[in-house]
């Protein structure tokens, strides 16, 4: 153990690790938001609630069917993603021709409904979810202690983010998505079923949020309000990064998580608000965000 700037290394790296973890979630969630925004041109305010549903899906699967973490990582995103597809078909589809702010209002209303329903059924306090056995424990690296589960979360988020980036930027399917983001009317005139692609993209984005929720379940308690405060921070992340690029969203998410973690070490009172302050500064010097196109 040693000290840096008067802070013991354990504490510093511990917070950095926590910062990386938060950053993982910021990256995953802002990635989902960016993908949805690109295709549907709406901000999915329900993203936080869908993240929460992912965590609850994992919890309920374990409680009622004994299905554990590893299966939940696959099943929960599919289940919650399916609800996303329903939402798009039933509601969002009808708002396509309107001002995108209606989409924001609708997903806002949905977020409130979802959170309210879960709060009614499960109360406000957190429900516990165990770290899966294979990932329990950790390793002593000398300058810090690294819990296995946290390392796993960071690795998995990075993998999912990079895989998503690759799929969108480098594959044939991704080219259909990118074209639809740019000129959906023309793409449809080539014979591609763009509306179905839009629905599935929304489902995918929602699934990403749910995946983040499953990953979050063993770290934070599973509670109905876990999504709402988080999503507002993610909005700030998105404003800072701009929605122009997938890589930008990922990079901004991780970076801001680390910055938040460092702030917690050196200026703990500012840690809840540092990201918002950075957003204010970015708005002053670079309104389009670091990776954004001017919009």
């Amino acid at each position: 153990m040693f000290e840096i700037f008067g802070i013991p290394s354990q504490a510093l790296f511990g917070q950095l690790l926590l910062g990386l973890i938060n950053g993982s979630f910021y990256a995953l969630l802002s990635l989902g938001l960016a993908v949805i925004f690109g295709m549907l041109n709406i901000i999915n305010f329900a993203h936080g609630a869908q993240y929460m549903m992912g965590a609850f899906a994992a919890y309920l699967l374990l409680q009622h069917t004994g299905i554990g973490y590893w299966e939940a990582l696959v099943i929960a995103p599919i289940l919650v993603g399916a609800t996303g597809i329903l939402v798009e078909r039933l509601f969002l589809k009808h708002l396509r021709k309107l001002d995108p702010l209606y989409g924001l209002l609708l997903t806002f209303g949905l977020a409130i409904v979802i959170e309210g329903v879960f709060r009614n059924s499960y109360g406000s306090s957190g429900l516990p979810y165990q770290v899966p056995e294979s990932l329990q424990g950790g390793h002593n690296l000398g300058f810090m202690f690294l819990p296995n589960y946290r390392a796993w979360v960071i690795v998995l988020s990075l993998a999912v983010c990079l895989a998503t980036w690759f799929a969108i930027e480098r594959t044939r399917l991704g080219s259909y998505l990118r074209a639809a983001t740019e000129n959906p009317v023309l793409e449809r005139a080539f014979g591609i079923n763009v509306p179905r692609m839009v629905t599935l993209t929304y489902g995918f984005g929602v699934g990403l949020a749910a995946l983040a929720g499953v990953m979050a379940a063993p770290i934070y308690n599973v509670s109905p309000q876990m999504g709402s405060d988080l999503i507002i921070v993610v909005f700030a992340v998105v404003v800072i990064g701009g929605m122009g690029s997938i890589l930008g969203a990922i990079l901004t998410g991780f970076t801001l998580g680390i910055v938040e973690g460092l702030t917690k070490v050196f200026f703990p009172e500012a840690s809840n608000t540092v990201i918002f302050v950075i957003m204010a500064i970015v708005l002053l010097i670079r309104p389009a965000g670091f990776f954004g196109r001017t919009a």
Binding site: Y176, A179, V185, A189, F190, G191
Partner: protein
Amino acid sequence: MSDTRALLSVKDLEAWYGESHVLHGVTFDVQPGEVVTLLGRNGVGKTTTLKAIMGIIEQRTGSVCFEGRELIGLPSDAIARCGIAFCPEERGIFASLDVKENLLLPPQVRPGGLDLDRIFELFPNLRERLRSQGTKLSGGEQQMLAIGRILRTGARLLLLDEPTEGLAPVIIEQIGRTIGTLKAQGFTILLVEQNFHFAATLADRYYVMEHGRIVDHFAAAELHANTEKLHDYLGV
């Protein structure tokens, strides 16, 4: 004027942009293997007609019959899958895709589309620029890309909206030759052109449009006799 053997038969087609009534009853037909040109000044509704056929403009009434199938009411992707391809005036090259991705984007809707090698024979420049971002190409190259990608689909009816607009004479010649080759291979083409001289080298028949209606019609052979009338219509 409609012919049951026609590949495309448009009858009393009306269309609206929001509140604005742009097509007031367009009627014409296109026989298989023909090159038919829609002529007219800016804003008479030529592009709108193509877009209405393609279903890109959704507010439309009347009848558009392709190979015996009614297209009014179908969404544009269904119409494309019937075997029609659209090359827009602004070319519509996707900036977030490279040239190869742009080429491969439109799916095969009919067997018998040109494969990539055949397309490169027609447009050799494209082969060198495969990995360039779509919009980094010159105007002429983009036009070639726009035409090239719809040839892959196997569509037999091509709707081409002002393919020579803003291009250098050398490129215009090349495009003219390409369309000639396509015609020889049995493609049917509905062409919108303001460049009357270009159209004159290829078209079998002409329809003249004014204020959202067809106002005149003649065959290639009758062109000479009608040049003065044409100049009036086109305001040349």
